[in-house]
Structure formats: structure tokens, C-alpha cells
Symmetry: C2
Subunit: 404 residues, 2 copies
């Protein structure tokens, strides 16, 4: 199990220092594509204590660019905690005083689990483009193997946002007896043509980068920096709402003048460049985000993650009827959407709610007024976090009552 | 003047065969950037007959990827007419039986007017990146020079959509006595941070293409094909609405099957590739659009056009108060927006309408329910075209009454 130590230097509601653990699996995993992964590693973090009955475990599933490091710090000098530290910790929404939280890096990832940047044991070289395309269903199957390894029979809840929320829905369909609650945030029943179009732009920018080398860039000791940067820039625009961007960058940072080329709005400097340098704050922000991301993420993993999104559609085995996909689900559902999320807008969550109700399932649905777009699911928005906390408190009360 | 000949092979409501004319200007043009263009060519098409009093001329301004070829055909084998043939012709909204239509390729363009792909007479080489950044105001100034050349004192109307609509607004501000009506369609008072962000992604994709060669690609006998393709793909997504994409590509083209990898929705073929090839129709559509565009448009011009958009903000000389910018305008205004246009949504047009009303101007505002997104302004949407026709008929009646 992961060591969890509190340090003086961390906030008291932090899970503190955490140490990832690697679990190796030798049993082959047959994928949706028909390909077989003969063996693989999953890197995992856990927070909070598993109770004796092993009934208080929750699984947290990450989104496109996330990983196993969802909360706490890896060392004393860490400036930033895990990606969902807002919501995971003692007294927080996913309360580590009540729950044992399991968070893994998904297969195909680039943060320690087996993926395209891992060495293929059969060739001794990087997998690169030979790493098979992974679907949400494959991830859930591998998460079920991990669950068995950890000796957990049933998750109190499976929780995730965006692509993570899709894994939550797939859990309720593929392993109906093995979760009590499915909490799916900022999600859609499947991608829209527009969603797929943006993903394809991202992929095309990576693949057409001369440093991509057909996906074998690591063998050339390089990576498609510009392509990955562009992919992230496009992605980033879709994660933020127009209003969030306006709030962030729409301010005038200089005086207006009646004449001259000193004109205003969201200028970074007082003067327009009249060239193709950065003129507006939003441009330098996107450059910075894209550049930082490109230095820390594997391009082949990015391709895989976007395909997993594009292929997600649990209704496909049921003639397009999502309600039938949920027929055997026995968990309760919570769905949350955000008003300005234009990537997966509230309408899309309502489609899922409608189909769950048609399937006779118990659903709690929350539509949060929030300016932050798709990114809202990661942010400490009071009404959202409060409702999320309350829900998980009730889940815990249920567990305790059921046990007594 | 442009020759206009009717041919048996063209529709009867077409302006028929048209021939562009080149006008050379030797008088230097001082630009917003402070730079001076010593001489330049403007390529122009006209449709319909200029009356003796020269009062029935209308100027059509093009958008990002448009040019002077707005209506009719260049030769008998032309498969497609000009970009706004829907609206320009005998009996059409911009009725060439009533009006003399002037349409030019703007400075910095790549369809015949002086631009980055032209030879710089001072060096004997392509301008390339040395071509100065052009603003909407510069275009309008050059259009006024053209107007003088054509002997037209006052436009009956200046008309344009998107970036073209911005030129219309600038006309009303810069040359208040020289137009009777300003018809500005699918426009915004200035770009949002999100708009600028998408433009910056487009620019970055062009500039980071290794074939860009700092903008001197023509000297290397190449062009940044991948970068321009990506730029257009991103642009294209923003021109279409999510619902238009769904209507176009959201159809299932195969049977669902209970098992196997034959799953459905908007698949191009019956099978998913489980690779990074094209799986969905929307992907091949974007590739096609991007590729075709990249072969027909100059990358430096694309950069210039996006900067002209980013820099547009007529309120800058008036401490951010757009209503003051219109104080001296004496024309009447018509604004049109489209419900699913998320690039320049109706709210942005309403901002302009509000400021025009505050300035005491006469405004007709039309908000059209249309599924087609920003692209709607180019399409023959009945309610839009009808209102547009009626408006221009009334403008013509005014002209006739005024003359009599």
C-alpha cells in the first residue's frame, strides 16, 4: 500500500507525501481491437485507509492528460499537489478520513503505466506506434484486474470527470455488481462530430510534425514538440469557456489613446506589434501552456487518449439505445455538468440522465452555474464541491448502516 | 469596366461570364502601422450597370478567404460561381438589375491584388514576410481610393459578412458621407479572447511548419502545406455549428451489431481502424477541406487576414466606447446575425446594435434562426435572403425617389 505521511509543510487537509506503487500483471489482456497485451504495469497511488471489510474503496479515473497522481505531494519541494487535490483529502469531498482512494495511470499513459513510451519486451525497443489502441472498455477491464489484485470486491464509488467520467459509465455497464455508486462529471454519452473534429486537428498536428517519425521519435531521441504544442493549444481553448477567457484575458492593460497605434483591450504590451509576434495575453498564455505540456507528455499517448474519446459510445452494443446499455446496472448514479462547458455541455449529461431514468435507475443530477467551461470539474467551485461532499457523505452513511 | 456576358450554359439569374480588371495605384498608401505602400494593384470585378448619376453602386467586402470573384463565372467550364453568387445577380438580393456591384480582392490578398505573394518592385523578389500588416482601416482607405478611381462619390450601400462586415462598420466611421447604407452580417465589434486564441493556433501552425522558411517559402519553391491545412481545419470547425456538423456527419452509415468491432455512429466505413487513420466522416471532410485550401491560398496572406481580425476594434480611438465611434456616421445600418454562429454569436451583433442606438442611428437588426453556424451568411437561407432582398429594394426605391 502507498505510504501516506503528513508533513508540517503541507496543508492540514492534504493527504501529504504519497508514493506511487507499481503493480505488474502477467496475465494477458485482450483488448477491444482484438490485440493482446501479454503483460503490463499499472502505477497506482492510494490515499486514506482501506477498512477491514474492504468496503470503503473508491476508484478515481483520470481524464486525457491526467495520471495516478491525483492528490498530495511526491516530495517536500513539490510546488503543486496532484491534479484533483481540491477534492481528495481529509475533510474534502472525497474524504480520506472515510474512504480509501485508488488512483492509477491508465494503460497507454506516459506516467509509469505501460504505454507507447515503455519498452516492448518482445523487441527491446520503445513500443511507440506499435502500442495498441486502447478503449475506455479496455481501461475498465484493466482496472478490474487491479481491483482483484488489491483484494477489493466492490467499489463504494467509481468517480471521474470528462474521459474519467466515461470510464465511470463503462464500469456501471461492464461490472454492474462491482460498484455501489457511479459519479460521472462533465461527460457525454459519446463525442459529437465537433469533438471528434477537434481531436483530429490535434492528431493531425502531431502526426504531421516532421519530428514525429511515424511515432518512432524516441528512437531518434526527439519528439514532435510543435505538433504536441499545437494539439494542446487547441485542446486548451476547448477546455475554457469564452467567458472564462474573457475574464482571464479580456482586460485592458493600458490606457486608451485617441490617436496613434497604442490601442487597447487585452494587449500584452502597450503597442501592437504589426507583425506575427504575440500581441495579446491569450496568445502568450496558450504558448506557455502548449510548451509546458509538450515537454511533459508523450505524443503517442496523446494520440491514444483522443482515439479512446472518439471511440467511446456504450450504446453501440445496443442498437444505439443507451438506456439498454444500463439495463443491468445496479449502482446509483450521480451526474454533474457545468453551464459554460461547451465541450460536453449540460444537454449531453441530460441525455444520459434521460436514458438512465428510462432504464429505471436512481440518478442524482446537478447542473452547476459556472463560468469556467469544461475545466470547471477540476476547480473548487463551492456549490459543486458541497454537493459532491454531501453525496459522498451519504454514500458513507449507507455503508456504515449496511454494515451495522 | 468588367464585361458581363450571359451564356446559355449559366442559370438565368447568374451575372454570367465576368472578367476581373486590375487597377494600378501609384499614389503611396500610408498604413495604420506607419509603413507606406508606395504603389499597389487592386483586382476588381463589377456586376450590373452603373447609372448615369453613379448613385447605384454598392461595394461588397470579402471575408478571410474570399476575393474579388463574388459572382458569376470566369469561363464556360467553371464548375462553381463566385463566393456570393447566392446573393448577387439579376433578381437576387443584391439585384444586378438595380445595382452596380463592385467587388475587389483586398490588399494583402493572394488573388491578384498586391500582397505577400507579389513581387516587391524594390527588391525584385516576393514580398513574403516583408509585406506590411494590413488593418481593416487600411483596406477601407484603399477601397476609397478605388472608389475615386471609379468616379463613384457615394456607395448606395457597403455590404459584407464576417471580416467583410467589419470593413462595412469601418466605412461608416471613416467615410461617413460616402455611403448610404451599411449592411454588416455575422460580425462582432471586436474579437473575443477565444476568437484570437483560435487565430493564434492557426498562425502558430503555419509559422512552425518547417516549409514556412520565415515566410520566404516561395523563394524555396515550396509552401507550408501542413501548417496551412491545420489552420484551415481549425478555422473550418469554428465556421460550422455543432448542430450543422451533427446534421452533416452524425448519421450512422452502417448497421449496429451486438458484438464485434463493427460499431456505429458517424463511421466512414463499417470498421474502426484501431489506428490513427480516418475513422469518421468528419475527419475525412476536414482533411479534404484543409488540403484543398492549402493548395489555393497563400500562407502569408492567411497570417495577415487573421491579424486584421485580431486588431479590429473601432472603439479604440474612443476610450472603448463604440457608440462614440459612430457619432459622425450618417448612413443607415442593417445588421444580421445567426442563432448558431458561435464565432460571432448574436450577442456580439446586439452589442453593436445597442451602441448604434445609443449613438442615435437608424438600425435594422435581424437575428436569423439557422443551423449552419457562422457559414450561414454565405448560404441561401430563405428568411435571411428575403429580408436582405427587401432591404435593398427599399434602398433602391429611396434612391429613385430621391432622384425624382
Amino acid at each position: 500500500m502507498t505510504l501516506t505521511t503528513m508533513s508540517d509543510s503541507f496543508p492540514t487537509d492534504s493527504v501529504g507525501l504519497v508514493k506511487p506503487q507499481v503493480h505488474h500483471f502477467d496475465e494477458p489482456l485482450t483488448l477491444r481491437s482484438g490485440k493482446v497485451l501479454p503483460a503490463y504495469d499499472l502505477v497506482v497511488e492510494t490515499y486514506g485507509t482501506l477498512n477491514e471489510e474492504k468496503t470503503n474503496a473508491v476508484l478515481v479515473c483520470h481524464a486525457l492528460s491526467g495520471d495516478h497522481h491525483a492528490a498530495g505531494y511526491h516530495n517536500l519541494d513539490d510546488k503543486k499537489p496532484g491534479w484533483w487535490d481540491n477534492c481528495i483529502g481529509p475533510g474534502k469531498a472525497i474524504d480520506t478520513n472515510l474512504y480509501h482512494v485508488v488512483s492509477l495511470n491508465n494503460l497507454g499513459g506516459c506516467a509509469g503505466s505501460t504505454g507507447p513510451a515503455s519498452i516492448n519486451p518482445e523487441t527491446g525497443k520503445y513500443y511507440g506506434p506499435d502500442f495498441p489502441v486502447i478503449t475506455v472498455r479496455d481501461w475498465v477491464n484493466s482496472q478490474a484486474k487491479l481491483m482483484d489484485r488489491l483484494g477489493i470486491h466492490k467499489w463504494a464509488a467509481v468517480i471521474g470527470g470528462s474521459l474519467g467520467g466515461m470510464q465511470v459509465l463503462r464500469w456501471a455497464i461492464s461490472y454492474p455488481e462491482r460498484l455501489g455508486h457511479a459519479i460521472s462529471i462533465a461527460v457525454a454519452p459519446k463525442l459529437s462530430a465537433q469533438n471528434i473534429a477537434f481531436n483530429e486537428v490535434a492528431r493531425h498536428s502531431i502526426i504531421s510534425d516532421p519530428n514525429f517519425h511515424n511515432g518512432r521519435y524516441l528512437e531518434y531521441d526527439t519528439y514532435p514538440k510543435q505538433g504536441l504544442m499545437l494539439a494542446r493549444m487547441v485542446g486548451h481553448i476547448t477546455y475554457l469557456s469564452d467567458s472564462a477567457m474573457r475574464a482571464k484575458f479580456g482586460k485592458t492593460v493600458m490606457d486608451f489613446q485617441t490617436a496613434g497605434d497604442n490601442f487597447g483591450r487585452d494587449l500584452r504590451t502597450g503597442k501592437l506589434s504589426f507583425g506575427f509576434n504575440v500581441d495579446f495575453q491569450v496568445e502568450s498564455y496558450l504558448h506557455y501552456q502548449g510548451e509546458r505540456f509538450s515537454e511533459n507528455f508523450d505524443a503517442n499517448t496523446y494520440l491514444l487518449m483522443t482515439k479512446a474519446l472518439d471511440y467511446f459510445d456504450p450504446s453501440v452494443d445496443f442498437e444505439g439505445d443507451l438506456s439498454r446499455a444500463f439495463a443491468n446496472s445496479s449502482c446509483k448514479f450521480m451526474l454533474v455538468s457545468f453551464s459554460t462547458d461547451w465541450r460536453f455541455p449540460p444537454e449531453r449529461s441530460r441525455e444520459i440522465v434521460r436514458d438512465l431514468l428510462r432504464a429505471g435507475k436512481e440518478v442524482t443530477y446537478l447542473e452547476i452555474e459556472a463560468d469556467q467551461g469544461h475545466d470547471a470539474f477540476l476547480l473548487p467551485i463551492p456549490r459543486y464541491v458541497k454537493a459532491f461532499s454531501k453525496y459522498l457523505q451519504r454514500v458513507h452513511e449507507e455503508l456504515v448502516n449496511h454494515a451495522s
